[in-house]
Each structure stands twice: as structure tokens, then as C-alpha cells.
Symmetry: C2
Subunit: 212 residues, 2 copies
DNA sequence: GTCCCTATTGGCAGCCTGCCAGTAAGCCGA
DNA sequence: TCGGCTTACTGGCAGGCTGCCAATAGGGAC
């Protein structure tokens, strides 16, 4: 026997499976260190494959990175969306309080992913990156507008206000998870109270100032 | 005469002068394209020097970039700080309304720099970058706390709230300058109203929820 | 057991950064 | 006015990293 049945040097996975595996590895590394400090060879080795395969699946390092960010941003957003629609079908339209509570739970559960996602952004002035984040935020704003029952057509300023509130929410959540200056309950109170307060107290004024 | 007085191939500038020149060139490029898409040779050529000189002055490409961002972030912040102290010495303590108005004027005047600064941020998870932006925001928060006359010692939650408001303000300003969904006057109304409203309406509630 | 598809490898070419030894601009004292 | 000296500035080399592609070999189909 010349053929001593050699063990396979590498295993052949299904396309999607390998893709997911590489993506997960890349995500782990990119959330730890900035883009430039992670090399493709490092990702490849961590995933147990060669560099060439990364390019086979994702084309370029940058597009792999974009894929990771997209993943990071989408997962929390989608979780909330799913949870909200589930809640809606169970007990009618979800209230604002319920939506905020849900949001906090999801963020708490995906703490690392969420922090990475909101501070992933905008390498200098990268258009593609900017678009991914902006679109996710815009989607969230749409959801919020729906839950609050705002009439976006008559009051386009509502979306701007909600986007502003989004910035507020991100920063407040950082105060909670990163800088530990607030508790979850305090964050809840702030988020629950801030937006309705502004909608009631400021939005009419802002609307009547149109064109100035 | 063998020596036909050859014109100097390059001119020798003073240390600080050359440094400023390179920095300005780098800023122009980095505000247009992301970090990775700008090469040192490009910066060098645009500045009319060689690549080696960049490293002579700034050591590494990354530290040149950090210098640019620091510059970008500091200039608007410092402008407002200066203007505020000037206003204060003229007519006593500045009011919140006056502070907001000032802020808007400064931002409007430095529109490009400001937009670049707030979206320059956080290359992936770059500590140094993060620190620069965070420190600038923290400084702004301090200023706001002072203008509003909040007692930070007794109410540490005030700073968290103000930071949250900072996120709101950044996003709202984007709505004005970038997405053009709000006018300057609308932004003014929102900024003037939002924070005092939250301080009066939410802060007490948040404080009494300490430890939860 | 054989064939074939394609997932996977391995190495080459080009670019870019960091570095350093050498060169020359231009001020300064004689 | 002229030589000397400081140091701003240049030019090219070395290492590393990305993008690419032809060759190889799992492993399922038949």
C-alpha cells in the first residue's frame, strides 16, 4: 500500500457555512481593534483558513468590514423590530413604554454588539459606512414614529425630532453601559419621558416656525 | 564662472510654519476621503514636500491623522468657549438662550469643520481617537452645566443628561446642515427648549431613582 | 469506484508605510 | 563677504499587507 490514507488537510464547508464562520471571526476581531490594526491574514488564521479564501468570499478587506458592520447594526435593530411586531400581534399596538423597555432589554442582551455598532462608524468620511449606519437609524426612527402614532406626512419635522432623540438615546445608553453613570432604570425614565415631552412641548412650536 | 547660481531646489521653512502647512494640507484631504484612502505620498505631494518630511514632523501617518482630528474638534469648541467668556465679561453671566445662539452661529460659520469633526469619529474602536472626541464633548458638557447653573456635585446625573443632550444636539444639527430637514430657527427652538425641559421635567425623577 | 464541481490553497505583483543616512538651505559670527 | 554649522529636507531601501489567479484536492453525485 503506497496510499496511507492521508487525513484531509482541510475540510470543505458549504458556501454559506464558511461565509458565516469567516464573518463571525472577522466580527470578533473588528470589534476589538480598529480596521487598520486588523490584517486579513490575521482574520484568515483565526478562522483557520487562508487569506485567499477571504477574498474569494468577500472580494476585498473593506467589503468584508462593511459586511461585519452591517451585521452588527442590523441584528439589534431587527431583534427589536421582531419583538415589537410579536408584541403587537399579541396585545394590540405596543405602547411607547413597552417599546422602550423592549429596546433596553435587547441592548442589554447584545451589549457588546450594540456598543461596537454605534461607535463602529464613519471612518473619516466613508460614504458606504455612513450609509449603513444612517439607514439603520432611519429605520429605527420609522419604527418610533409608528409606535408614537405621529403623522409624518403632515409634520415632517417629527422625523427630524425623532432622529435627534436617537442621538440622545445613543449617548444616554453609553452613559449607562460604558461610563456607568446611570442605571438601567434611570435610562428607562429618561427615554420614556424625553421624547413625549418634546413632542408635546416643542414640536408645535417648531412646526409654526417653518420657513424661518 | 562655473557656478551659475542655481536656484534652490526647495525652500526651507521655519519648523512651525512647515508643520502648519502640512497639517492644513492633510486636513483638506482627510475631510474629503477616509483615512485609508489617503496615502502619505498624496499628502506630501499636495503639500509640495516629500513623504520623509511627514514622518520627520509627525512620526506616523496615524499620529498625523490624530493631530488633524484634534485640530478639527478643538477649533469650534474653543471658538464657543472664547465667545462665551467674552460675552460673560461684557454683560454678566450668559443666558442659555444666548449660549445656544452663539453655538449656532459658530457652527454655521465653521460648517465644514464641524461636520467633519463630529463624523470624523471613532475609527472602528480606536482608543486615541475616541478619547479626543470624548474629551471635547466632555468639555462642552462642562460649559453647558456652568451656563445652566446646575449643581454637578449634588446631582451627578446632570452631566449624563447633558451628555445625552449633546447627542441630541449633534443629530439635530445634522438635520439642519446635512439633511436640510430643519431651519436654523427650528434648531434654535429645539435646542433652547429641550434641555431646560428635561432638567425640569425628568432630572428630579431620575435622581430619585438612584440605585435602581 | 470514478468523475466532476468548486471550495480552498499558495504564491506572485504592486503599493504603502516607516526608517535612516546623506544633502543642502540659510542664519551667524568673524 | 565668506566659511561654518545647525537642522530642514530629500531619496531610496526593507518589511508588510492587499488583491489576484492558476493550480490543487475535498467530497458528493452517479
Amino acid at each position: 500500500m503506497t496510499a496511507t490514507k492521508t487525513a484531509p488537510r482541510w475540510s470543505r464547508l458549504e458556501h454559506d457555512e464558511r461565509r458565516e464562520q469567516i464573518l463571525a471571526t472577522a466580527r470578533a476581531l473588528f470589534t476589538q481593534r480598529p480596521y487598520g490594526a486588523v490584517s486579513t491574514i490575521e482574520i484568515a488564521e483565526a478562522a483557520g483558513v487562508t487569506r485567499g479564501l477571504l477574498h474569494h468570499y468577500f472580494g476585498t478587506k473593506r467589503s468584508l468590514y462593511l459586511e461585519v458592520v452591517k451585521d452588527l447594526v442590523d441584528s439589534p435593530v431587527l431583534s427589536v423590530l421582531n419583538a415589537l411586531t410579536a408584541a403587537a400581534s399579541e396585545e394590540g399596538a405596543p405602547t411607547w413604554e413597552a417599546g422602550v423597555a423592549l429596546w433596553l432589554d435587547v441592548v442589554e442582551a447584545n451589549e457588546d454588539a450594540w456598543l461596537a455598532a454605534i461607535s463602529a462608524g464613519e471612518t473619516g468620511s466613508d460614504r458606504a459606512m455612513h450609509d449603513i449606519l444612517d439607514e439603520a437609524r432611519e429605520r429605527t426612527a420609522t419604527q418610533v414614529i409608528a409606535v408614537l402614532g405621529l403623522d409624518e406626512k403632515r409634520v415632517p419635522e417629527a422625523r427630524a425630532l425623532v432622529r435627534g432623540f436617537g442621538g440622545f438615546a445613543e449617548e444616554i445608553t453609553r452613559e449607562w453601559l460604558q461610563r456607568r453613570r446611570l442605571t438601567k432604570e434611570q435610562v428607562r425614565l429618561l427615554l420614556v419621558g424625553a421624547l413625549p415631552g418634546m413632542v408635546a412641548g416643542l414640536l408645535p412650536e417648531v412646526v409654526s416656525a417653518r420657513g424661518l
